[in-house]
Amino acid sequence: MTMSEPTPRHAAISRRRLLAAAGGLALAAPLAACGSNTGRGGGGPGGGTVLRQWYHQYGEPGTQSAVKRYAAAYRQAEVTVEWRPGDYDRQTAAALLTADGPDVFEANGPTLDQIRGGQVADLTAEIAAARDDFNPAVLAPKIYGGRVWGIPQTIDTQLLYYRKSLLAKAGVAPPATLDALVTAARALTGKDVKGLFLGNDGGAGVLGSGGIPLIAAGLDLLTADGRAAFADPAGADALARLRTLWTDKSLLLGAPADWSDPSAFVQGLTAMQWTGLWALPQIAKALGDDFGVLPFPAAGAHGKPAVPVGAYAAAVNARSKHRDAAKRYVKWLWVDRTDFQEDFALSYGFHIPARLSLARKAAKLRTGPAADAVRYATGNGHAAPLLWTPGAQTAVQDAFSRIIKDGADPRAQLASAASRVTAEVRRARGEG
């Protein structure tokens, strides 16, 4: 292209014409920007393939720069990492409906609807080389129809943290049963300190979503053929105990930070708190060795202690334009690069590696409350089945809320939740 000599007509461009041209440009610029802002710019290693990878926002410092470092180390494609604060599960659910979703993303699932809806790619071949090395409890909910739809990244669990000094002062032993927990919480409650923190909703959300008190009462959430199995007098009795905690005013309510954050526990607002394994480093830093961890205590005669276990999984968007490249990247990061997997699980915050071989050799997990946590996760860990859909969780959470907060009849509420769960599972399996 050559520049032509400016003619007098060009030079004498009128003010009006200039304004019109500028207006046209102003209109065109955002449209052009829309067209190019796809996050898929060319260049980089791997012959121009650019993969977009999403993570939810981890609270532990260093995690974000670590995942960027892993992505930068991949030579077959350029990987851009997006760190997504906020309601991550809903963001991914919405993004998967569009053509502009991530290529690779971590999923608190994938859910059965996402798998059946063809939104996530089959990763059976990618995990095959190391399939037996993944913790079977957390791998099981990633399998549907004999195929693997997500590769577990790290294992998380939730535990009952207790303050040793406060229990000793009140003359209370670490509670081994739900009845003992109710008694201990009552004894530990004072003017400025509450006995137990299960979340600002009294535990309906966190305990209801995984149904842990029902499992601690010796029940299963679902039968093998997908029917609700928790509508049992033992479950109703366990929930009646949670209601007692509420009526005793032993529960901390309305804390500025909810159950997933250890602030209430380390600030001395509560003597015991239900929170995640991820909070352990923060608690150890604040309280030294003045704390211990317990599973959710056994409820009733046939109960057994229980902790929930689960794993975020690396999944591939089935609608990705670079699906095969994305699958290769997931295999490289979450199957081949065990050094990165170990770093991700143990260097920032606290998680149990999803690979059995890595969990066995992790020195950090061999002593103190961390070792207890690993023992509970291994011996008393329960992963929610794949059929335990968000709809089923909501039904149970609502029942928990009505029992705990409103004093509704536990048997009637569990029976009603069970029928809704059975219907929801039938729908999710495509039978309804």
């Binding site: 409906l97 909703d201 959300g205």
Partner: protein, 326 residues
């Protein structure tokens, strides 16, 4: 540039001795009214079409399909989604929540903003200051205000602002948002909306007050009307009729659209309690949550839109919106 529309040869300007009469019509003059109309309104019409009308039509279409986890469904289900949403006790309870919320918040905001307007209009000094102070909260986002209300003013522990005040009087701390018995959460939800909205409606009332002719008050005074309640009852309030109707309509529509404060005050990482779910929160969890049931969600949205339309038209008829003021 050697090519392109900008450099395209323009018709040569005819040289005529008569000058003005033979001058070329400028390319962008006032005579090109159609062109200018589209230049100025085009982007907005395009935006309206892309972001309002297309989603609207799409949503109505989705409401007749089995649209779980997809926006391009293929299985037509007729009225099944409407039957599902109207038969869901959670949806009907969300409408009840909305009704309760409206019954409380609309009269409260109306009364407070009118009272503020009357007060501000009567002060002789610092009127602009008070007007600005009461209007300022309107600039605050619902999300920020809700978080301050939740975490600082009405948190349930001993150092929350409200509980500190209670403690000074020897009362026990109250878990404002956690305990539905008694339902203190309504106080939190109501006050945050009052704080955010009252200033805006105060401005509308102030504008209405300024339009009332002084002569009416003088005539009333001559006829023996006492200042204060009697003047307000028989002069000010009737004269504010048009403003009042507009304010009530806006308040009711806003109440229908309540989402931000409910969601930010009551939701947790694991969901939302089964009480105090207004319709938009219900739809959020049905359609946009992990449920991703866009068919049922769209049916709910259509039902809600129809309800808003019917309520607005009924109110407009009832109050005589648009009727010429007497």
């Amino acid at each position: 540039m050697s090519a392109g529309p900008a450099a395209a040869p323009a018709p040569a300007a005819p040289v005529a001795a008569s000058g003005r009469a033979a001058a070329p019509r400028p390319r962008f003059g006032p005579h090109r009214r159609h062109l200018w109309f589209w230049v100025f309104t085009g982007p907005f019409v395009l935006g309206l079409a892309v972001f309002v009308y297309v989603p609207l039509v799409w949503s109505v279409t989705l409401s007749f399909f089995d649209a779980r986890n997809t926006v391009t469904p293929s299985r037509f289900v007729g009225w099944a989604n409407y039957a599902a949403v109207l038969g869901d006790p959670a949806f009907t309870s969300s409408l009840l929540t909305f009704s309760l919320f409206t019954l409380v918040v609309v009269p409260a905001t109306f009364a407070l903003s009118l009272a503020l307007a009357l007060l501000v209009s009567r002060v002789r000094r610092l009127r602009a200051f008070f007007r600005s102070v009461f209007f300022l909260p309107t600039a605050c986002s619902y999300v920020v205000a809700s978080l301050i209300w939740k975490m600082s003013v009405f948190n349930g522990v001993r150092f929350g602002l409200a509980n500190t005040v209670l403690r000074a009087f020897g009362a026990d701390p109250v878990a404002w948002l956690s305990d539905p018995h008694p339902p203190w959460y309504w106080l939190v939800i109501g006050t945050v909306r009052l704080w955010l909205q009252a200033g805006f409606y105060m401005i509308l009332f102030l504008a209405g007050l300024q339009r009332i002719p002084r002569a009416l008050y003088e005539a009333a005074a001559v006829d023996g009307a006492r200042p204060g309640w009697q003047t307000f009852r028989y002069i000010t309030f009737p004269q504010l009729r048009a403003t009042s109707v507009a304010v009530v309509l806006l308040l009711v529509i806003n109440a229908f659209q309540a989402f931000d404060e409910f969601y930010n005050l009551l939701s947790s990482a694991r969901g939302y309690p089964p009480y105090a779910r207004p319709p938009l929160v219900y739809l959020y969890y049905t359609a946009l949550g992990q449920g991703q049931d866009l068919g049922v969600g769209s049916a709910g949205a259509v039902v809600l839109a129809l309800l808003i339309a019917v309520a607005t038209v009924a109110q407009a008829r009832w109050f005589g919106l648009g009727r010429k003021e007497a």
